[in-house]
Amino acid sequence: MSNNVPADLRYTKSHEWVRRNSDGTATVGITDHAQHALGDIVFAETPEAGRTLAAGDACAVVESVKAASDVYSPLAGTVVAGNAALADAPEKINTDPYGDGWLWQLTPADAAAVDALLDAAGYQRVLAESAE
């Protein structure tokens, strides 16, 4: 089981990651564990720019050959952009979940909310518990 958990990101128990960008925005995607569990991803639907999200909103969908899965917003905020490249290449979520496979970028309503998310060690513990 692949469990790449970069130390510089924040995480949720529902397997999203958040990267804090230098311009004050944040980027969201699904973790390596999540993409592996879903299998070959063939379709992704990301939120449109300008949409206001509450934390926990099901705002994106990732579909593998097997099934559709909701992706929940880790943060409240306003969407800056969805990853348009996924329309033609949804498999980027499998091959580069923390890079080209990002799902959307948002401006957080509360910059400090990012710090309240799990750090890498905390997310590793979530994975370890779910494996038991």
């Binding site: 299998g39 070959d40 063939v42 379709f43 969908v61 050959v65 097997k66 099934a67 559709a68 329309a87």
Partner: protein
């Protein structure tokens, strides 16, 4: 408590993602369902289908019994080895199961039924066999693999001696052969993928070695995930999804498997004739999604003639589009929309199969 096939240890050793399928621990995939799908379309893949149940029916009345039991007519099987696809119906014409029956020799037939329905099927078969001189034997001693793909026949035959290989390679589509007495393999040129290939049955104790030799010959192990996308591309129904006891073959795209040309009194015939007389209100069609998205089972289908529902749906790896089977009002022809997460997306009605022998057979 789930059951395991004789190949379970092989699946685990190959790192398979194992899921419960009809009460059996079966491999969903061995890493990538897409790669397994493409292997079958382009080269050769092998599926463990030992969860399916072979049932031998033998005796003076075997043909008469199957004539009563099945909607298709086993008397169409004139040559030994020939196979026939059929539904087994209840009195209401509902589909209890779909199956393949092989004519081995006069008075000897082998039927292969689905895993999830095997217990129910056997109870039904025994209940109706009493009036006939026929023995019913569930072959729990056999294991079965399906080797499918353009290279499947030659790679499989390479494992057999010259006589066995030439007998297998000489098979016409939908024929079976068997050799070296009771314990030799039973080899059929049948499958569930839309590709050429064999389905091979043999004693359970021999299947591990056979599996390993197939893999060594270059055949890729494939799981139930790829099996499902392959069968749907091939336009083949899945029991429990596309038809069940609440639907008749006439509503399931299977009218071609119902033999009404002779007065044979099979179970469910009266109900089917009444339905045909009254007019079949629903039919099963193929759908191609014309927008981005993925069709799945149980999505609402909107047509000018009324509502329907998808019964199976998937992303088609060969077409790189989304496809489905859907049960819709019989009069509906076009202007279909499928509802996905509250949005209506355009879909075009197409005649299955979608893919045959590695190629699209519908306009994209």
């Amino acid at each position: 408590m789930t059951q395991q096939t004789p190949l379970y240890a092989q699946h685990v050793a190959l790192g398979a993602r194992v899921v419960d399928f009809g009460g059996w621990d079966m491999p969903l995939h061995y890493g990538s369902q897409l790669d397994e799908h493409h292997a079958v379309r382009r080269a050769a893949g092998v599926f463990d289908v030992s969860h399916m149940r072979a049932v031998d029916m033998e005796g003076r009345d075997a043909a008469a019994f199957l004539g009563r039991l099945l909607a298709n007519d086993v008397r169409r099987l004139k040559e030994p080895g020939k196979a026939l696809y059929s539904c087994m119906l209840n009195e209401q014409g509902g589909v209890l199961d779909d199956l393949i029956v092989y004519f081995r020799s006069p008075g000897r037939y082998r039927v292969v039924v689905n895993a999830g329905t095997a217990v129910k099927d056997l109870a039904w078969i025994h209940a109706h066999a009493a009036a006939f001189e026929v023995s019913i034997t569930a072959r729990t001693d056999l294991a079965m693999v399906a080797v499918q793909g353009p290279d499947a026949r030659t790679l499989t035959a390479s494992l057999w001696d010259a006589a066995g290989a030439s007998a297998a390679l000489a098979l016409e589509p939908f024929f079976a052969t068997e050799w070296s007495g009771a314990s030799g393999p039973f080899v059929a040129r049948t499958g569930y993928t839309g590709e050429d290939g064999f389905e091979v049955m043999m004693p359970a104790g021999e299947i591990e070695g056979f599996w390993q030799r197939l893999l060594a010959a270059g055949v890729r192990p494939c799981g139930l995930g790829a099996r499902d996308t392959l069968r749907l591309e091939a336009g083949m129904n899945l029991y429990g999804n596309d038809m069940d006891e609440s639907t008749t073959p006439l509503e399931s795209g299977l009218a071609w498997t119902v033999a009404l040309d002779t007065p044979r009194d099979f179970i469910g015939r009266g109900a089917l004739e009444a339905q045909r007389l009254a007019g079949v209100a629903r039919r099963l069609v193929g759908l191609l999604l014309e927008e981005r998205g993925v069709l799945r089972s149980h999505q609402s289908v909107h047509t000018p003639e009324g509502e329907g529902q998808t019964t199976s749906g998937t992303y088609s790896p060969t077409l790189e589009r989304s496809i489905a089977l859907a049960r819709v009002p019989a009069a509906a022809r076009d202007a279909f929309e499928v509802e996905i997460r509250g949005k209506r997306l355009r879909a075009r009605v197409v005649r299955p199969p979608f893919v045959r022998h590695g190629k699209a057979v519908i306009a994209l």
